[in-house]
């Protein structure tokens, strides 16, 4: 796929022009938040940053395929666009980057991008790969038991699918036909380990057959294609027809995190070639072709997003860090005990 390649999918029925513009705006906002995190890290203002560059289209497509704020999301640490798609704001994102006391995700306890926003139905996750996948299945079990019309969207990278717990989760969900969607963002690398050393199958989606439900593949550089694939899976789950494994083929545009250097395991040719596959200009071109957006609007969207990220950065930087007392809060419901 080349940079000028157009996204071929038509606008699916039910997806309005203003909705796809909203998706685009949030993708732009995500990119600027991501860039800001790495800039702050280079400036020595924050100790760590993780990227979702290359994943924005897949994540935004998935976010818009669920009932945002009602359905539960069990994301992973590369899901900035998914979180912003569901409703995380630039201020919330920057508060977590600066590890501030009023950081809504964890009060400055967790690494960046480890979301927890109860109001948005985004569940708390750790950095332990695939540990949250059974939690999403447990949520889906609850929805099924309590006859709630909700689904759980559980996301992870392809490396997570090597974990035993991932397979246990898939198996459990398949047995009970639970209302969940397993969403794999396959960027072909688990830090440095390429997919061929991670699994002997060609596609992560192939693994679903072992658990009695469908695995589907979509172009994760195309938000519309991903939206359609995830929406079909969500509708199926909501009908009571069980889970689906959706594999979005994406790429990772940068190193794993600010503490990684991808030149130690990836050629510079490969790194340059993936940069040409940026999903944001592709989506922009698609929106323009269809008359959903024009150059003036694009300029305006980018300027507004930049202002929002700048404002959020200044604001969050000025907020207080956790206090000494915070060390001992939220250990147990009744406070710290020993």
């Amino acid at each position: 796929m080349k940079s000028e390649a157009k996204i071929r999918a038509a606008l699916p029925e039910g997806l309005l022009p203003e909705t796809v513009r909203d998706m685009y705006e949030r993708m732009v906002l995500t990119r600027l938040c991501d860039d800001r995190a790495f800039a702050l890290n280079r400036q020595g203002k924050i100790p760590f940053a993780a990227t979702c560059q290359g994943h924005e289209a897949a994540q935004m497509g998935a976010a818009f395929a669920i009932k945002r704020g009602s359905d539960w999301v069990f994301p992973y640490y590369r899901d900035t666009a998914l979180a912003i798609g569901v409703g995380v704001t630039p201020r919330q994102q920057l508060m977590c980057l600066f590890a501030r006391k009023a950081d809504v995700f964890s009060s400055g306890r967790q690494f960046p991008n480890h979301y927890s926003v109860p109001e948005l139905h985004i569940a708390s996750i750790s950095s332990i790969i695939a540990a949250h996948v059974t939690h999403g299945v447990g949520a889906a079990l609850t929805f099924s038991m309590r006859k709630q019309p909700l689904i759980a969207l559980i996301s992870f990278g392809e490396g997570a699918t090597s974990e035993g717990e991932w397979h246990e989760a898939m198996n459990f969900a398949g047995i009970h036909k639970l209302p969940c969607v397993f969403f794999c963002e396959n960027n072909e690398y688990a830090i440095s380990v390429p997919q061929r050393l991670q699994m002997a199958v060609k596609n992560v989606a192939d693994r679903a057959a072992a658990y009695g439900f469908a695995g589907v593949i979509c172009d994760g550089l195309d938000p519309i294609a991903t939206y359609s694939a995830v929406r079909d899976a969500v509708e199926k789950a909501r009908r009571g027809d069980g889970p689906t494994l959706v594999e979005a083929k994406v790429y990772r545009a940068m190193s794993h995190t600010s503490d990684d250097n991808q030149l130690t395991y990836r050629t510079s040719e490969e790194i340059e070639s993936v940069k040409l596959r940026d999903p944001i200009p592709r989506f922009e071109a698609w929106l323009k072709d269809r008359g959903f957006i024009d150059d003036a609007t694009i300029k305006d969207v980018k300027a507004k997003a930049q202002t929002a990220v700048d404002e959020a950065t200044d604001w969050a930087e000025a907020q207080p860090p956790p206090s000494e007392d915070d060390l001992f809060t939220h250990v147990y419901a009744t406070g710290p005990l020993s």
Binding site: W72, F74, D103, V104, F105, S106, S107, R109, Q110, H114, S116, V117, P118, A123, S124, S126, I128, A131, H132, V133, T134, H135, G136, V137, G138, A139, A140, L141, T142, F143, S144, M145, A152, G164, E165, E168, A169, N171, F172, I175, T329, H330, V331, Y332, A333, P336, L337, S338
Partner: protein, 327 residues
């Protein structure tokens, strides 16, 4: 007050909480038609249905993980690990996840989960049906650990654990299941998590213990009373949070501390209790702190010749009380 076994106390606690609160459900291996390998949940499937009595695949990490997810959604799951020896695949979920969910989300998410598991030896259970696991979890803030040993305490603490808003690891010594009988109050009652019980009052030596060893320690104390030594037996009942107050009050009175547990000695629960006494009550003591505990070998062997010397006996406990009382 009806008399029942520990096993019946577990069953009654589960049954009554299932009836009281529809958020409570049970998941584990063989909990359905089989009614759990000890028959604790016999009849539950018929009474509560397949949605609330879930026979899981043979996969402990997902037993814990799926239960955690349900707990995060406001359910009150009681997950069963069939034998404590099988809990290791679920360690990541219990320690890495359940214990940290409240803290890492600054109270945004919670995990009101109970994980029940039969533990302990003396039943010819060999290497993989005899283990004591408490020391492996005891180190972890965010978890609560109950290890009761009487029918009353078992029923009252299990009900309290199910109603607790944090994850509780509930350890049931399998040798007590049918061996130990006792009176249990009628109707709804709880035993508070984090409170020790003075199983036997005494003035000369404090014996601090939990689990099956409570019964062995009381037996030992009765034996040695004829020699003029009155041992006070403290049954911790909950090993985290630990009831420091009861321990320190007793030691202040007797001026001698003996700690007894079946789990291996090195790095065991007794090591922490000894450290607390040393830090906070050293000048109350008339004798060094002593421990009677399992030997530091990898596991309890199958042959009687391995099992018997592994388990602290009333005789060994009595001898230790005698020794420390003489100092």
């Amino acid at each position: 007050m009806p008399t029942k076994t520990v096993l019946e106390a577990v069953r009654d606690a589960l049954h009554d909480e299932m009836k009281r609160d529809e958020h409570v459900f049970i998941m584990g291996e063989d909990v359905g038609p089989r009614g759990n390998v000890f028959r604790i949940t016999a009849g539950f499937l018929e009474e509560f249905g397949r949605e609330r009595i879930i026979d899981t695949p043979l996969a402990e990490a997902s037993i814990a993980g799926v239960a955690i997810g349900a707990a995060m959604m406001g359910m009150r799951p009681v997950a069963e690990i069939q034998f404590a020896d099988f809990i290791y695949p679920a360690y990541n979920q219990i320690v890495g996840e359940a214990a940290k969910i409240r803290y890492r989300s600054a109270g945004g998410n919670t995990c009101p989960l109970v994980i029940r598991t039969p533990y302990g030896g003396g039943v010819r259970g060999a290497l993989s049906h005899s283990v004591s696991i408490e020391a492996l979890f005891y180190h972890v803030p965010g978890l609560k650990i109950c290890a009761p040993s009487t029918p009353r305490d078992t029923q009252g603490l299990l009900v309290a654990a199910i109603r607790d808003d944090d994850p509780v690891l509930f350890l049931e010594h399998k040798k007590t299941y049918r061996l130990v009988k006792g009176d249990v109050p009628d109707g709804d009652f709880t035993v508070p998590i984090g409170k020790a019980d003075v199983a036997r009052a005494g003035t000369d030596v404090s014996v601090i213990t939990y689990g099956l060893m409570r019964h062995f320690a009381v037996d030992a104390a009765e034996r040695i009373a004829s020699e003029g030594v009155e041992a006070e037996v403290i049954d911790l009942r909950t090993i985290r949070p630990l009831d420091r107050e009861t321990i320190l009050n007793s030691v202040a009175k007797t001026r001698r501390a003996l700690i007894v547990h079946e789990d291996q000695k090195f790095g065991g629960v007794g090591a922490e209790i000894a450290a607390i006494i040393a830090e906070e009550a050293l000048f109350d003591l008339d004798a060094p702190i002593r421990r009677v505990a399992g030997p530091d070998v990898p596991a309890m062997g199958y042959a009687k010749e391995y099992e018997d010397p592994f388990m602290p006996s009333p005789e060994r406990i009595a001898a230790a009380i005698r020794d420390i009382a003489a100092l």
